[in-house]
Amino acid sequence: MSPFLRYLYGLLCTVLFLLSISQVIEAIHEDQVGLNDWSLQFIGRPLEVLVSATQTGSSKSLAFIYSEQNVLAAIDTKHGEIVWRHVLENGENGTINSGVVLEDEVCVLLNRGRLLRCFDTLTGSFKWEKLFGGQDTHLGKCIAVSDSKERKAPNRIICANDDRIISFASRSGNVQWESKCAKAQKRLLFQSLSGELIVGGLVENKISVKRLSVSTGEAKNAGVDRSAIVHPSTTDCRLVQPASQVPPYLICFDSSTSRLFSHSTSEVADKAQKDLRLEDLGGIAHTTGDGVFLNSFPTDGLFSVSTNGESLLLHLSADGQIKLIKKVTGFYAGCSETDVVIVELADQIASVRVAKYDGNSLTPQAEEALTFPFSTSHGSLESVTLLPSKDVANCIRPAFLFLTEGDVLGLFSQGKLAWKREEGLARLSVTAIVDLPISDIEALVEEEFEEKGSFPVRFTKRLVSQGLQLKKILELAGKRVMSGLRIGKYFHKEQLERDYFNTQKIIVSATESGKIFGLDSRNGDVVYSSLLKNFAKPKDRSIQFYIQRTGAHAPFPSQSVLVGADKRTGNGLLYFFDCITGEQLDQPVTLNRPILQSGLIPVMSSNHLEAIFVLDSDLNLSIYPENLDMPEITAFVKDSLHIFDVCSKTGVARGYRVKLVNKAWKAVEVWSATLTTAGEAVLTVSPKRPHDFVHSQGRVLADRRVLYKYINPNLVAVTVQGTDEGKKPYLKIVGLDGITGRVVFSQVHRRARGPCHVVHSEHWVMYTYWNEKVRSNEIGVIEMYRGFEKPNQTYFSSLESFEKPELSSVAFKLPGFISAISDTVTVEGITHKNLIVALASGSVTQIPKVLLDPRRPMFPTQAEREEGLIPYAPELPLVTENIINYYKKVYRIRGIKTAGAGLESISLVFTYGIDLFFTRVTPSALFDVLSDSFDYWILTVVMLVMTIASVIVRHMANTKALEQAWK
């Protein structure tokens, strides 16, 4: 062998060896975990933050939080990560009324104030629970106390509900004493500085106060009843002690009347009883129903009232007089017996100051305040919880957890913002998956090939465009080098741009409280968030979200609109914004009346914008943007626009068409149906998607005949639940034509009830319900067919079609509790459909639509087998391989949003509830692209080997030919 060949052989062997090693390394990784999916865990809107003053035995500093969504979680205060989390029972059984934290356990009062459940603070493992009596009350209260003054750490939990007070020993949960008391609609429980237990009770127009011994539960006085105009459900109280020798006062605030009350806890006649209006004290403009936070301080007589982002620091004197010390836009927190932490907000900056209180005024301890950025999307500050520290200088550089109006939970520590969590993401109510705009270079390429103008014009245009492209490429390269030098990543993608297969999108979501989020679909990062002022969910309706222009029409910005209600008046409110950047595009529009219905007008203007119509409660129709005066829109509204509305309260469905009356659009009722009667309620209203792609117009049967589908784009499925004379529930599903009000189908399931989830697409409706008779979840399927005759028209018109479809229906048992359900969507609708089902167990699974075919025969014939019909089985299998979130459980899923990608085979799935989960599914497998498992290495190696082999063979052939020539 020649030296060259030997060298080549050695090189080849080395390459093959290296390649084989790299293959081994790749095989170590778990297959595709997190490659195209992500999930995020949240707690929900925090109700209270609990911190232990004496936390031991852990390297982590933990804060315990319970939320509106019935979640209890421990958060690592260093990084803001969830250490453990318990998603408690749904509904009232899991609603947390109160929580306490002790040395090594955290306990919550659940189940209408009747169940105390305790968990280990470090691991979150369940320790003990005690169920005690009491009537239905949501207003129970627990406190952690120590039975002796010497002992600092609390060692017993005292809980009170409407008619009893019980003391439990920590760790064991043994009942130490139990005391009955007069019934109250709201129970108050405090421990005074002298160690006594102060028990308060609120009933309509009466406050009762009693003092008890902590160790025995014996009453120390007979109890005092005082009359006061209070509403228990809207009143909150705190215990404030003006001085060490003076009996403490109960300070109560009734948010329904905006009044502040002070009541002495002593049994002597309360001459100092005060009843003040909040406005009189400091001029805080409080609107009824807004959240009001009362906060008591370790400093004698100090307390604060906060509402609408403003706080009043107030002082209660020994004679019961209340005076204002200071008003601030922010929050006050008591740090020590003399120091008060003031967090003040101004110009998107939060300033933290510590001030000393000398009995009359506050004196700042340092000239310069510590600051941290506080975005407007956070809203106002709602609460501040100081973290305990052994450091004496804790009050100079305080660490605190803060909660804002925009559901942001953050930690300020070491003089800076350590972390923040967007807990509003656990409350999403409406979402959309939006295409990203194409890159600048691609936009220029598209412009280059526009066939407009003469040849010289087009040629010049092309040259200019190519020049601009070159400029852009150089700019981009420059940017990448700069960003590479700055952050070390040369290919860091700063701008949100569409990828080649259009799989990367932006997820635009909004909460019912008016917070908008833009999430990057690659990793779930929050691209933007903004809190809309005075925006709320309309009464009896949900928020609506419309995309008026996607990002595909550069240079025009993408535009979308959020339709809701004004928090103050309940009238309609429209908010226009760019859904790629989150920027507000126009001034919000406030209507004069509540909104009845809204929708997109499918007529595109010259600047690629689709207008929306808004129908108010007085049946006036408006079109937005108002300046979009196009004859095509006018013609569409006049001739083609039909509106339907189902009032969930009355159960009346109405259909309207639009007329021009006195130069204004007015909706005129054309049909009406009363879907409910007494004892019935509308559960769901499910129209079809506006752009629902249909796979095919018919089904080819084994005998080569075509069974044509009944595809009515105006069909609306309404589910109604009621009870019969024997108090047995029943479920009714009605298919209505939204334009004519004709009943297309109507089915009744006896002894069935909700929750009901409906998927409506193509020619089928699927709905889930609970069958009380067999106590299982079932899924019903209705398919509609026109028959074997080919329809003459290529379109469907509700006004011209009087035919009733042939129904084919079936039901299956579903082994699992369903939280949400949806179907996959692809770009052209050619791919088969799968159902995406979120289960209460935390799994998200997909069920092929073919399993839900009503034509599945019990005993399939040869022809049916040829057609591909699967034999009928009454139960749908939930195959573990079909669980798309594998071990990443997601809980309390409220909705599933699906969208198509650039590839026909891919459907993007976004589930939202307390947790978020995003992934991509391929219902008919990845047929239009090489799969991820395709072995590129083998292909490369084969190519390489073939190339080398051809070089070697050529060399050998040349040598042989030369040798032969010499012979």
Partner: protein, 233 residues
């Protein structure tokens, strides 16, 4: 009488009385004397002007049956319908249950031309729920060959001022439930077939496997003969 017999008699009477009580309740509800008023309306901006056409007793409604009514149109009404048909306007039918609120009714529409084309014969469909309570009304043209036309007392014509109506009552279908019984039967049938296949073959071992045994025996015989022949040679 034995105590057990007493108990049996008592239970029997209790069950019977409960059944009669429930039946009387259902009957009372079903025979509730409520009237359904059918009105027809003409497009009159922005509110509709409606006029009573006929009354129906809820007790008279029978699912999948058709009732007829006739109404003598005034000249003005007939002109209104004709005019609406010329203008391409709509014709409305409204059904209102006695005792309901003013804004609670069922309403449907069709093109006025359809009424004229069908010679003033209205095809009205009344959708009723489980308790035969109407929840939706539909109006549509009656095709020439519709068998319901035979119910009419007079031949349809556009000459007289007579509006005739065919009111059909449609009920809700009972929703499907998982066919557990059928599936159980299918499984039992399959099991029985399997058992039959296993137990049905009562042939002897030789009768069953002769096709394998014979070639082996033949092969052994021939191979033995060939070996013997060689040795003899």
């Amino acid at each position: 009488m034995e105590p057990l017999a007493y108990l049996k008699t008592f239970l029997f009477h209790a069950v019977i009385s409960q059944i009669f009580f429930a039946a009387s309740k259902v009957g009372a509800q079903r025979q509730e004397e409520r009237t359904l008023t059918i009105q027809h309306c003409f497009e009159n901006e922005p509110k509709l002007r409606c006029k009573k056409v006929t009354d129906l007793q809820l007790t008279s409604l029978r699912i999948n049956q058709t009732q007829i009514f006739s109404y003598l149109l005034t000249n003005a009404e007939k002109e209104q319908i004709q005019s609406a048909a010329d203008k391409g306007e709509l014709y409305f039918v409204r059904a209102r249950l006695e005792g309901e609120q003013e804004d609670v009714y069922m309403q449907s529409f069709c093109k006025a031309t359809d009424v004229v084309k069908s010679l003033f014969v209205l095809g009205i469909t009344l959708h009723v729920d489980l308790f035969v309570r109407p929840y939706a009304v539909e109006i549509g043209p009656v095709a020439q060959g519709d068998p319901r036309l035979e119910l009419l007392l007079e031949e349809p014509s556009d000459k007289p001022l007579l509006l005739m109506g065919l009111i059909s009552v449609h009920g809700s279908q009972t929703g499907p439930s998982p066919d557990l019984e059928g599936y159980r039967k299918k499984l039992a049938k399959e099991r029985a077939e399997k058992m039959a296949a296993e137990t049905g073959d009562n042939r002897s071992f030789l009768a069953k496997y002769w096709m394998y045994i014979v070639p082996v025996v033949l092969f052994m015989l021939f191979s033995g003969q060939m070996g013997g022949g060689g040795a003899a040679a």
